[in-house]
Structure formats: structure tokens, C-alpha cells
Symmetry: C2
């Protein structure tokens, strides 16, 4: 059994690589893709793409279905929910500072108008 | 200059490790902490903690201020905004269930803290 913390480890680790993020991006725009279609935009060899797909599949971020010689890849972004929920905890730091910044800008603006 | 993709690489890489996530969690609950305070809950040696802090500082997620012999660590969660914005693109796949998941993650976290 993989626990909550281990799932976060795997999700964040899968998202570290720009090629893997680009693969997920492609699958977000298209319903599904073959391995060949996914490999096409990258200047890397097919085995390297296969390795990235394995990391994504192990993290539960994609599914692979084999039909004859064709492997169809689909997005399964559910693990990202947990990653996002984890990040949400920190959201108050930048939404809070944004509010303070807005208040500061408004104060400066009214000072500027009233004071001079 | 570090570009958008490289910043995402560093942020996600910094978040892969559960000790680093716990350090960020501690800094989220407390305004600031010394290196000793941050090291205290973990069964790892101080140099290992220092190494984690360097990874977090390189990713721009914390700041370290030295005063005499004391190093004060503060949270700087701004890079998480970009990581969260990246994940937001996938939100439509699970929208609605994110609120429930945040509640779930928070419950798990409080169980984990209370359970020991």
C-alpha cells in the first residue's frame, strides 16, 4: 500500500521533468494519444519516451492500453488533486499578501490625491 | 536566468521529499524557525537538515537570515503559485471534488499530527 505521503512523493517526482509535463499537456489537449504521437514533438529517442511514460504510469498519472501493436495513452490526472490540495494550504500567503498590496496601493493613491 | 520551466523543475523537485514538505509545513504554522527548531522533529542529523534547507533555498521556497550564530528560516512560498497555476489546468478533470479533497488532506494531516 502506498500512503498519502508516498503518493505525493511520486506525483511531484513525476512532475519534475519538463518532457513529462509536456506529455501530460498533450494528453490534456487531446483525449488520447499513441506512443508515437507523444514521442513526435521531442528530440529524444523512443526508449527515452517509454521511460518517461513508465514514470507517469507508476505515479498513476496516465493509463496505457495495448491493442495489437498500438499502445494508447490516456491522462489520469487524479493524483494531481492531492498535490494541488497540499499546495492549497500555502495559498493564504500569496492571497493575503496580494490583499495587503492592494490596500497599500489604494492608500498611496488616496494620499496622492488628498495630500497634494 | 532561470526560465518558467526550470523554475517549475526546481519547485516540484523541492517538494518531492517528505522531510522538505514537513519543514515547509512547520514554517507555514510558525512565522519563522531556527535551524535547530526545524531539525528537532526529524530522526536525521543536522547536516542532512542543512542539505534539505539548501534545496528549499535554491528553489526560492525559504529565506535564511544569519544573526550571530543563529540562522532564522522563513517561508517564501511564492514559487508554489506557479506550480499551482500549472496544476490548475488539469482541475477541470476533477472540479468539484477539489474542495472535498482539501478537507480530506487536512483531516489526514491532523490525524498524522495527533496520532503520534
Amino acid at each position: 500500500m502506498v500512503n498519502y505521503s508516498q503518493r505525493l512523493d511520486r506525483t511531484f517526482a513525476a512532475l519534475v521533468d519538463p518532457t513529462r509535463r509536456a506529455i501530460l499537456g498533450h494528453l490534456e489537449r487531446n483525449d488520447s494519444a499513441t506512443v508515437g504521437e507523444l514521442a513526435q514533438p521531442f528530440a529524444i529517442k523512443l526508449p527515452a519516451v517509454m521511460k518517461h511514460l513508465s514514470v507517469l504510469a507508476d505515479a498513476g498519472l496516465i493509463t496505457r492500453t495495448k491493442s495489437g501493436r498500438t499502445v494508447t495513452v490516456r491522462l489520469r490526472p487524479r493524483p494531481m488533486r492531492e498535490a494541488m490540495a497540499w499546495l492549497t494550504r500555502y495559498e493564504r500567503f500569496w492571497s493575503g499578501s496580494l490583499d495587503r498590496l492592494t490596500a497599500y496601493a489604494e492608500r498611496k493613491e488616496s494620499e496622492r490625491r488628498g495630500g497634494r
